[in-house]
Symmetry: C2
Subunit: 564 residues, 2 copies
């Protein structure tokens, strides 16, 4: 049978109560205990799950409804459970108060505002039926809003997002599980290395898995902005997605943007893609469930099919943007369109062949079918040569053994000012030169001296391991020291080379309407653990101990509003 009682005027968040329910259910003589706030939605649930008792009619949204399922007919069980409940609630408030550097709390909205006047986000995880009201309050006070709660109507979502847009604000959610802004973990969030990849997602664990894979690949993120699962529907029209894209487009630290969502509404997809194309940054888009051909690229948009693939593409783009930044800093970015041709001088035949294939495909030019004199590609001014070809090795050692031939070819580029990018390999291991990096580095330095007015970017891949006699890492450092970019593999080298010979659209420099990315200060309303996590992570937060006005009685609430 069901034993029941109501504990009046004691608001607690639902997660804390659920954990208490689990604990109390372990009590002997008891089958299961349900402990819930008496909100209208909860009452329906209590009835549906067979825990209903007439006394719950008297409970408001500020009262705790306790139902005990037990074979025992003895009503003393309610006393026992009541005592345990009090002890658990006590524990809860004590554990919340022991930290030296205490979490700031406020019982009223105004006092939360007073305690953190420059708060710029309100994180809302209260029951869905109360979300719209609190969100409006936040927006009216010029705060961005992140809504973790679900059960918010579509109409409310649209109105809130429209209001936010009109005021240069963003509403993340409803049902937004994850955001990580300027290192601040909002709701479900991970601790991530700082990097140059920004994430936008209409999916919580999508953002988390993407960010985790990026971290596993030794890269990092700037910000991750959640949208909520309905943002890209026809009804909402991607309002927050567009705001988020605008924010990251104008964030100088974000060099690559990664976007994850379920397949959007067709018209919204087009709006989003158009907005992406207007951004002078590479963007990886994963519309999970709409298959893209591997390597599909639409202008600056790279389509992915899985989260790990999206992460991998983002990390390759991240490398490329970093290399570009390094080249710019070192004054080695080629002068475009003056020096917009690529020259590849390879000692490895297969490396030359793969690079020729990659460039031919990216530049839409044809391979050289003859391979005469080791020429693998020779079209439109671009040329890839295999210096291990018989033509160069007749009576001479292979260029992996003796650098002379390649050194001569590199120095010959001094007079070929149309060449803006030089691609090379460095093969180490047994059989190869004792220190190929030093001779390659010297040749590149000489070349640059010989054409001081025509910067040339030099991109190398290294074949070999750290266990090799020459040591991959040591060889790599010698090349880096000489201003040679190291690509992780041939596709990355090809991608970088092609990106360097294309003129870039200048950044749009749209006005950055949001200050959110500079730093986050949070008012947390709802789940206490989110405030605790923010506090533990060193973020600035006030926990607004939200409770329904007038015990959740809507008639009374409306009366009260009219009185104010």
């Amino acid at each position: 049978m069901i034993h029941a009682f109501v504990k009046k005027g004691c608001f607690q968040d639902s997660v804390s109560l659920m954990l208490i329910s689990r604990k109390l259910s372990d009590t002997p003589e008891v089958d299961e205990v349900s402990v819930m706030m008496g909100t209208p939605a909860n009452k329906l649930l209590i009835a549906a799950t067979g825990f209903w008792a007439p006394i719950f009619d008297t409970a408001t949204a500020n009262d705790i409804c306790v139902a005990i399922k037990s074979e025992s007919q003895n009503n003393l069980i309610t006393v026992k459970i009541g005592t345990e409940l009090d002890a658990a609630l006590n524990n809860l408030s004590e554990s919340q108060g022991t930290s030296k550097n205490r979490l700031q709390k406020a019982r009223r909205w105004q006092s939360a505002l007073d305690k953190l006047p420059d708060a710029n986000v309100v994180l809302i995880s209260i029951a869905g039926e109360y979300v719209a009201e609190l969100s409006n309050l936040a927006l009216d006070n010029h705060k961005n809003v992140m809504i973790f709660s679900d059960n918010v109507t579509l109409e409310d979502e649209i109105k809130l997002k429209q209001k936010a847009r009109a005021n240069g604000l963003i509403v993340m959610g409803p049902d937004c599980g994850t955001s990580m802004i300027a290192g601040t973990p909002l709701a479900f969030a991970n601790v991530l290395p700082h990097g140059n990849i920004g994430i936008i997602g209409a999916s919580g664990t999508g953002i988390q898995e993407l960010a985790s894979q990026i971290a596993l690949l030794d890269h990092g993120i700037t910000h991750a902005l959640g949208l909520g699962g309905r943002d890209l529907t026809a009804e909402v029209g991607g309002i927050s997605a567009l705001s988020a894209l605008n924010m990251l487009a104008n964030d100088p630290e974000t060099q690559v943007i990664t976007f994850v969502s379920k397949p959007p509404d067709a018209a919204v997809r087009q709006i989003i893609l158009t907005a992406m194309q207007a951004i002078a940054k590479p963007i990886v888009a994963l519309f999970l469930g709409s298959y893209s051909k591997d390597g599909d690229v639409d202008k600056n948009i790279y389509l992915a099919n899985t989260l790990d693939q999206a992460a991998r593409i983002a990390c390759q783009l991240s490398n490329i943007e970093r290399h570009r930044t390094d080249l710019l800093a070192a004054n080695q970015l080629p002068n475009i369109p003056l020096s917009n041709k690529i020259s590849g001088l390879y000692t490895g035949g297969t490396l030359a062949a793969e690079m020729a294939l990659l460039l031919a495909s990216k530049l839409k030019i044809k391979l050289d079918p003859q391979h005469d004199q080791g020429v693998m590609l020779n079209a439109d001014g671009h040329k890839i040569i295999d210096l291990g070809d018989d033509f160069y090795t007749m009576g001479k050692p292979h260029p992996m053994i003796d650098p002379t031939t390649r050194t001569q070819q590199i120095l010959a580029l001094a007079s070929q000012q149309q060449i803006g990018v030089l691609l090379v390999d460095l093969v180490i291991g047994y059989g190869a030169e004792a220190d190929p990096a030093s001779s390659l580095a010297a040749a590149v330095i000489d070349l640059r001296r010989a054409r001081p007015d025509y910067p040339i970017a030099v991109i190398a891949t290294i074949t070999g391991t750290v266990q090799d006699p020459q040591n991959r890492d040591l060889q790599q450092n010698i090349l880096k020291h000489a201003g040679i970019i190291i690509a992780h593999n041939l596709p990355e080298a090809a991608h970088l080379a092609v990106s360097l010979i294309n003129l870039r659209d200048p950044p749009l420099n749209l006005p950055q309407k949001s200050d959110l990315l500079k730093g986050v200060k949070v008012i947390n309303a709802g789940l206490r653990r989110f405030a605790d996590d923010l506090h533990a992570s060193g973020s600035t937060v006030v926990h607004y101990q939200w409770a329904p006005i007038a015990g959740g009685n809507l008639v009374l609430q409306n009366l009260l509003k009219k009185l104010v």
Copy 2:
């Protein structure tokens, strides 16, 4: 003008002489010095490059031809260069003799054989015109042959390979730059971690780059077998490729095979693919230049387009084979076909959605369009559920916060003996449970206890980082300890799951005709540096100081042969 002299009866390998040429060319008063053995091919080259002098007519293949290009008319320059040459040759033989543990050398073939009677490879880098004779000698003495040299006729290649095949031997090459067998570096080779991936390649730097990328991905190789660039032509018909496949198919340490070559002749390609399909191991095939759709799989053959992609696929397959080995050892391989269904219980909605997509594609089944009760996939007995769906969270905390719902669902599998694989996620970070791994591990242990006769494989992915409060590595260890396999990402998890529910062809157990993979002992003929490298790497080697018989005079050679 050209000053010239001949140094009689002093054979040196071409690389040593080239390095000496470079050094002597730095002498004052000298433009360039050419130092070459007087082989017929070299003589043509000397003439073609403008270094010819009539005295070279007297030189044999055992004599060094020295040509000095200089503006000076004074013939004393030959004395100067002659002295420097002697010093350099002296240096060379001294530096070769200083090591405590000296390289073993032999001047005659028979004495090389006597010094290393159990040699099983002859590594040949002598001038091309002499290769066939020495290779035949090696094969007749039941040695495998690796031919680094080029300029061997196609006819000779075919004959040598046919002879090798008939005797259970392999000829790697001609023009084979790289092999790495049982840790022994043959010619251009890298020092690589030991692993479970075997490589076969008709391309030297292709093998090297593939192996390097595998090492960068923290994997390792068993053996790498070179074929030479012409093996897959219609004329040669892939004789050595088939031998190499047979060797690795029967090598128990090789769990994954990776094959790289230019696109083979169409008929040969079919022969190779058929041979690959008969091997009960996953094989990655990169026919560089013949484009494959991403993820193209032909039975056990995975087609790749670039070297780094081939390496990545090989490493994923390597993980999967290792996981399978671990499951077998732990008695957790599902009983197939009794337990051949997959169940996925996810806390992350997007993770469930991607897994459903991956399985639907791999198993050729349909997604569930309704997503009722969080069911993302429910077809043919396989089921993927998103436990974060409203159905499970109404009135209960999200399963990332409270494991109760998933624990119940896991325990319910006790009676579902058709389920052989359980897929789960583990999401850590702020907001999530303090120790989700422990509750998941406990549930899995309970489940296994409840169905002792029906082993179940459990595969988890982890979302989160090592910086997260729960620490990804610690959580991973807890899961591993409970016999849960950790996949690096969702595609790897899906791939493993599907591979576990399919019955495998038993290995063919062809007779292993070659003992080469057990350990390599080398007779090196030609470039001294290859012997030095072998020696330095700790391999067993005798350097056969090969020199052309009768000074390379073919008439005299034939006379001598008749006399024997």
